[in-house]
Symmetry: C2
Subunit: 480 residues, 2 copies
Amino acid sequence: MSKEIGITAKKTEDLPEWYTQIVTKAELADYAPMKGFMVLRPYGFALWEQIKTYFDRRLKESGHSNAYFPLLIPESLLKKEAEHFSGFTPEVFWVTHAGENKLSERLAVRPTSETIIYDAYSKWVRSWRDLPLLINVWNSVLRAEITATKPFLRTSEFLWQEGHTVHATQEDTDKEVLLILEYYRQLIEDQLAIPVLTGYKSEREKFVGALYTTTLEAMMPDGRAIQMGTSHNLGQNFSKPFEIKYLGKDGQTHYAWTASWGVSWRLISAMIMLHGDDRGLIIPPRIAPIQTVVVPIYYKTGDQGQIKQKCDLVFNQLTNAGITTYLDNREQYTPGWKFNEWELKGVPLRIEIGPKDVEKRQVTMVRRDNRMKTTANEDEVIAATRQCLEGIQSNLQIKAKAILDASITRTDDYNVFKKTLTERGGFIRSTWCGEVACEDKIKLETGATIRTIPFNEPTSGTCVLCGKPAAKVAYFAKSY
Amino acid sequence: MSKEIGITAKKTEDLPEWYTQIVTKAELADYAPMKGFMVLRPYGFALWEQIKTYFDRRLKESGHSNAYFPLLIPESLLKKEAEHFSGFTPEVFWVTHAGENKLSERLAVRPTSETIIYDAYSKWVRSWRDLPLLINVWNSVLRAEITATKPFLRTSEFLWQEGHTVHATQEDTDKEVLLILEYYRQLIEDQLAIPVLTGYKSEREKFVGALYTTTLEAMMPDGRAIQMGTSHNLGQNFSKPFEIKYLGKDGQTHYAWTASWGVSWRLISAMIMLHGDDRGLIIPPRIAPIQTVVVPIYYKTGDQGQIKQKCDLVFNQLTNAGITTYLDNREQYTPGWKFNEWELKGVPLRIEIGPKDVEKRQVTMVRRDNRMKTTANEDEVIAATRQCLEGIQSNLQIKAKAILDASITRTDDYNVFKKTLTERGGFIRSTWCGEVACEDKIKLETGATIRTIPFNEPTSGTCVLCGKPAAKVAYFAKSY
């Protein structure tokens, strides 16, 4: 593989450059001509489709439906919840003209859809029989990014899903918020093999307009955290200005409760950074668009008939067994070139079939994660492939969990806190008085924010900064 | 069913009012607060998902991949193909600000994605080995509508798919254009049960910037045609300004050829208008989000155990057989209310299970299309359901084909042409000199345009307007 095609940066030496190379050279994404925007190429889109297909099934099984709401939102609607509006307005792209005609009111390109959706919900919700209303949308949202573009991580437009649900009571809303958080955890930990910390956001860090926000936070190899998804209880903060009311069983009219939740293609950026190596991507088998690639190896012309036949057979066996397989019988490339390309693209398992494999009635298998080479009897190809793929999935999970665990420093000493952040980053688990003043000062002095406040963790001791009695345990980190 | 819930307009008396009621009361869509925009509700989205799932599979089987390109397009990029730009510019929504900052260049909210996609393709296509490049996008596009909103038919934003492919030669491009047209025909005729005329668009009616456009045209009950989808050969009209070039096997650099093609949620509007009746929607079984609804019928409390058990059994049998089934065991509604609701929503087949059905070891089946009631032995529920659903699909196809055939008037007499258009509409098959002057004059005088010029139809006689020798056969109609 030529230098132009392979990754030339080392992950441990220059993570940003390594990341950029991997995204473009593995053909996941490309830069668009406008600053801040990217193109999602077919291989990247196939990854997103894998995530989407899995999660969409979970949502449907639990009674959620998909719908579609307009891209453009009148300014007056976006302004209805004041805090929400002021949070988003600096990033909003504004449409002011249609053709040559100036519009009477500016239209926002949706930065998120709460307001346009609640306008509809206020018409649809009438009675307790209409609740819960469980709707999800797969779309893109736009928020102007002024800093440098980082594909999947910092872009002015991103693909995501946004769920918007309406409930009769606070208790029902809490349950939905936590149900979705659990679904996200399963998607992220079990499918993407990325372990996370879960908990609440602080008041400072919560979604603008929410009663409270719950979050999932992962740790990247450079010691910075990444927010993987959030699930919010919006209380009655939106149902009041938008007049989402229902007639209860008690014959009285009540304001409803709402929740919203989302994950974006940002999940892909964490997957790249956490699992990849200097040869390229490593995609966890459960989410891989191609799980196994079959590569024929010809040494001389006479080989081809039997090898080709065996490759076709193995390809068909694996495909019929539900294992997503690509048979790479392109003639213009050498086996070595193909090995490099599929390693760059992170295909979990490579199956090589050459003259010796035909002779010995076997296949040769090479794992992408640890590059271990084994052989399997040709009668046991399916079982051996399944076992290999499961082994890779679990190896990635174990390695990633070890990275997360090793990244956590427990301290209530502010000097250790600062030193750790400077020297190695990671999560700092500290106790905190609960005051935003301390939170602000810590951010100012160290760059770290509260990533999450864990659920149900008993608190004792004093605030890491001010020394007053602690109210909460908090995980601090620098973040993407 | 109260008047508020059921359809109060007659299809034959007031098609526009009937259409509006069906769209909103069957909960397919709702109006958005901004003129021209609509909300696609869960039931409407489920219909679109059915279309999407079917067609996406066809595309993938034939080597096409999905991708995603930015929503916003710089004005300079949109201007690169002048004819294309002038065609779209009156309808473009322009973004001029991000937050409070005025942008240095206006950004168009995509009215179609040729330009932003070709900008990327110019980087991706290098060699003949990269061709064909077969990419599809599922997204929404925006084109400002100044006339009254008509859900699914005339909206300023609509969901669609846009395919954009690059080929080495004109011949390869022609093949792609016709392959997709055939896939569209199968989707529309075989799945949606809507027969169409296919052929070329005239120069006047073709896509702005295309070498030629092919189209599929359906006829609605009011005598107006509806364009169901188009597939364009764009020649080298875009590859030249966008510099999409490849190194051929001959060692020379060549401009590539491009094609684009799309169908939108407009397909749903034609399905509604063609198949629906005064009770509501009639959805063809192959595309129905719910194919069968099972309704328990209790007369007295003692019935419930056995009936409930049998409903569960039938629901499970049908679901396991791959028939999409909804068990309507809601207790707050009567069977009669449920019948009306599912008829309004167009579910092809209703299965009723009451005391007599339990006693006789049977189920009662009611077809939505002709409301015929039959019974089936409980051991044969799956086979009987399949047979019924196939019968409905084929009945809808036959009825729709008869409407199309009966709508076609063949004449070369301009007086008959005008009289037919005024009195009953439909397609007028005439011969035409091929001159745009005649085409323009016919439109001015009658409101009819050339909907399509059929493939390979021998031409003789004279132009219906000017009397000069005919160059082409053309189907004229008024249209949506």
